[in-house]
Symmetry: C2
Subunit: 144 residues, 2 copies
Amino acid sequence: MSNEETKLQELVALYAQAVRARDVETLAGFYAKDVVTFDAVGPLQRRGVEAVRKRAEEWLAQFQGPLGYEIRELRLDVAENEDIAFSSSLNAVDGRTRDGQEIKMWIRVTVGYRKLAGEWRIDHEHVAVPFDAKTMRAELDLRP
Amino acid sequence: MSNEETKLQELVALYAQAVRARDVETLAGFYAKDVVTFDAVGPLQRRGVEAVRKRAEEWLAQFQGPLGYEIRELRLDVAENEDIAFSSSLNAVDGRTRDGQEIKMWIRVTVGYRKLAGEWRIDHEHVAVPFDAKTMRAELDLRP
């Protein structure tokens, strides 16, 4: 495994750890200042690390008790001595909201990374679930 | 603009042109053999160019008459002498299905590219719309 691949795998693992810990400050530190994100819920896009931090706060504040967040089928496109990389994965979210709802869902996550001042940063993130074309409802119960 | 950026912009333009022309063979030629895609509708993922071609056929066969497909807010992360790149954009789909339904929707599209044998290929593609967390319905009426 290349050096850059190892670094990105570490970043992915730290990211998941920060989600489980609901540590918004650590999460926000992984993003480039001018990141653009496409999230599972609207709006269509968010621009900038402050908007991403605010959304992470809102999302993580919904949960109570332990929050599960596991990354599966991680696929990294990275090459040595290059400053751009991307990944895709299926991530399992497993938690309970403050109003008692059990959330167990798989999300598709694509991340674009750019090396800035020697550190890998998330420059683009796309999180989504598919919808059912017949019912038009989000498919939260799909399993890999 | 760098040489690689120009090449990728050309690929993006040719891709949109192939969608409008419902030219599945040209579309399939843009993908790496072992591409993984996350599509707007289920399943969670598809693996391999044959699965992608089959899905493109199904999707494009739904339409009749002119099909609009415009790429907006294209953001390319690409660097000279690198073999990995990614893009994000908001794409407008505007068409009429064979059963007479008018489709006018914006999709979020993230693409990961890899240069293979000197040619840029799509190694990962993530297409999705957000859902409304209250109604759980796909939000097909959002506008940038």
